[in-house]
Subunit: 413 residues, 2 copies
């Protein structure tokens, strides 16, 4: 049997109501993944409604005008769906994967949930769940380190807003405030319906057009105030802590910046867990419980981060080693063999992160939210492949770690 | 461009030294997974060397005659490999996935590690790690429930042996005992080298032939004593427990039994977390913290299990509900709609568990160890599809839950 070799195909359409639909179609796939990617998160909140994006994400699973929470659960279960959702500083994503025959049913379900009932009784019950979640997280210094550290670092810029919100903001939040936020931020123009895997494009498009026919247009913007990040050091006592938790934050590159592959490679060389400069200088020497580095690519801004957990007695030594390593990195740059190893690892990680429709859904959807473009996996791999020493070392010159902010949570005296 | 549609191809060869090599080749895959599947585990141990299989698994990562532990770590890291190993009652599996260009290097590394150095110093260090692991697990009632419960249930049959061993057996174990066990149990005839994904079969075969040219033949059998499982109830106090942990064990079907799909469906209907008979009868009523059911398909034997965690005050009520539900199941059987929903979910789960080379490696390798056959995913799905009400209800008649053993760990007085 011979036939045309199936290649991945990308499709895109914008409906009259403003909803964008995109798909990476793989006819060989055995499953289909689909989800709504909403460009909203804690950075789009005012202090009065801090945490509403995340709380709203929970509320969608409580159902729509025609479905209650039990019904929602049962329907996902009957399809055997793998499903979940998450909220970050910038995005709220609802996603699931099913066998291709269930795709129309799954699309109908998610689309219905995008217009949630927000029943007062569900709202009151879920508020308690969120408050418990906040209380639970406040007992986890490794989570609060970045929540509080980002707030101090971004110094008033909305990228420093907490995803969870605070006990005070959640306690005071009303159902009507949430409904107003939902109407504004879940406007079709602020949503991207993404599909990946064995997708029937024409059928999907016809179905979503019908399902969203009554959705009204809307306009949801985003503020991009100037960024004046903190520099220097800040130590704060943390009740119950017996260790010191340290986060270094420094200006990196945005999700739209072509230098982001170089930035990822740099973070890998510097702080990958298990084999990196900081691993050998700190973990291997027994100076820290853990250490790592990474990048956070955001909308129009980005940062490098380094974290370490250490015995309080070693805090100053750890900071000195960190300064030494960062100084050496800025002075000497990275070596060719380090670059090659990091590129290998990044390319491999990309392949492993793109083997299933569910994984492709996440890459394709998030990239589209930030860049309004499609990149096949092969193109991403090529961009990693072409990164040169000059790219990485050039980045170090324009984004030096000497402009960093070190935030630490230390045991209370 | 037209070309022959690539189908998954299965290959198999047995080398002169007795080593079997199998591969499921997918030319479209972007990665390759490979691993050594060794038919040995705690059931193949005598009481004197209890835990040696698992301890030995740790020791392989300490290196061979020509590599130390650091070198092994670095090499996996340079390849960007995803790698791990595990030991069960019956199998020890070493597995990894890499980009296709690293496959020869990965094969060389794993093959070298199959003949570990077992250096005395490494042995002594790792013994402490294992002893700490045992101490850690003994603080976890949900793990010890099955470790101890199986021991009581199998009542002297080696399937009741603990994977971890005991503080006493590990403390007394010598390096030479481990070396003798390794030589005997890791004979080529007891290993299956499995590959999946983008495999170059001819090259692999030539390479492994060369790499294992000096491996000597050996014979590693397995005992299959008669099974006389416990029936009835046993309650044991558990220090520090504040909850009651309950395990029900009952004869199921083996990994070689064609009725195993019916058995899986039955366990799903009975006890899937989130939506099943026991979920609605116990979890939804607030009588348990958690409840679930499953199957354990072993070599020549198998069992159903149910577990529940409950407030001690509810223990008798939970047991009564459990008996009621099992009695009703035996009397009335399952309904067609339950069967269809469970089949849907099982078929979907199978697809999700077979989308990457790493996942296929595990299915293909384990199935081969038990059945010495290859089953494409489509054939497995077909076997689920054809299960009838008569199959499931017939199984209930030959494997009634009334022959079960209920083991519980209860708070010490």
């Amino acid at each position: 049997m011979t036939q045309t070799k199936p290649a991945l195909e990308f499709k895109q359409a914008t409906l009259e109501n403003g909803l964008t639909v995109i798909a990476e179609i793989n006819p060989e796939a055995k499953s289909v993944a689909l989800g709504y990617f909403c460009k909203t998160g804690s950075r789009d909140e005012t202090p009065e409604i801090a945490g509403v994006s995340h709380f709203l994400e929970h509320m969608l699973f409580k159902g729509s005008a025609t479905r209650d929470a039990l019904q929602v659960n049962l329907e996902f279960d009957q399809m055997g769906a793998q499903y979940n959702a998450y909220t970050s500083e910038e995005n709220t994503v609802y996603y699931a994967a099913v066998l291709p025959e269930f795709a129309p049913r799954l699309l109908e379900l998610w689309t219905d949930l995008m217009r949630p009932a927000l029943r007062q009784e569900d709202f009151d019950t879920e508020k308690q769940v969120i408050l418990e979640e906040i209380a639970l997280y406040e007992d986890r210094p490794n989570i609060m380190l970045f929540d509080w550290g980002r707030a101090r670092y971004f110094a008033g810029h909305p990228l420093g807003n907490s995803v969870l919100g605070t006990t005070r903001s959640i306690s005071a939040l009303t159902r009507d405030q949430m409904a107003a936020y939902q109407t504004r931020r879940y406007a079709p123009s602020n949503l991207v319906l993404t599909l990946a895997g064995k997708v029937d494009w024409e059928r999907t498009l016809a179905q979503v057009q019908e399902l969203t026919a009554t959705w009204t247009k809307g306009q949801a913007g985003r503020d991009y105030p100037d960024l004046h990040p903190a520099v220097g050091e800040l130590r704060e006592p943390y009740p119950k802590a017996t260790q010191t938790y340290l986060a270094l934050l420094a200006p990196g590159v945005s999700a739209q910046d072509p230098r982001r592959y170089a930035a990822n490679i740099l973070a890998n060389i510097l702080g990958e867990e298990g084999n990196s400069r900081l691993f050998w200088a700190l973990s291997d020497k027994g100076l820290v419980e853990s250490v790592g580095a990474g990048v956070d690519e955001a909308d129009g801004a980005g940062l490098y981060y380094i974290y370490a957990q250490t015995d309080p007695a070693n805090e100053e030594t750890v900071k000195a080693v960190l300064r030494d390593e960062l100084g050496r990195l800025e002075r000497e740059g990275v070596r060719l063999e380090e670059l090659e190893r990091a590129k290998n690892k990044l390319a491999t990680a990309l392949v492993f992160a793109g083997e299933t429709p569910m994984q492709r859904l996440m890459s394709v959807g998030i990239n589209y939210l930030y860049n309004q473009t499609y990149e096949p996996l092969s193109e991403v791999a090529r961009k990693v492949e072409v990164v040169t020493l000059a790219d990485v070392n050039g980045l170090l010159e324009t984004r030096p770690f000497s402009q960093s902010f070190i935030y630490s949570l230390v045991p209370a005296q």
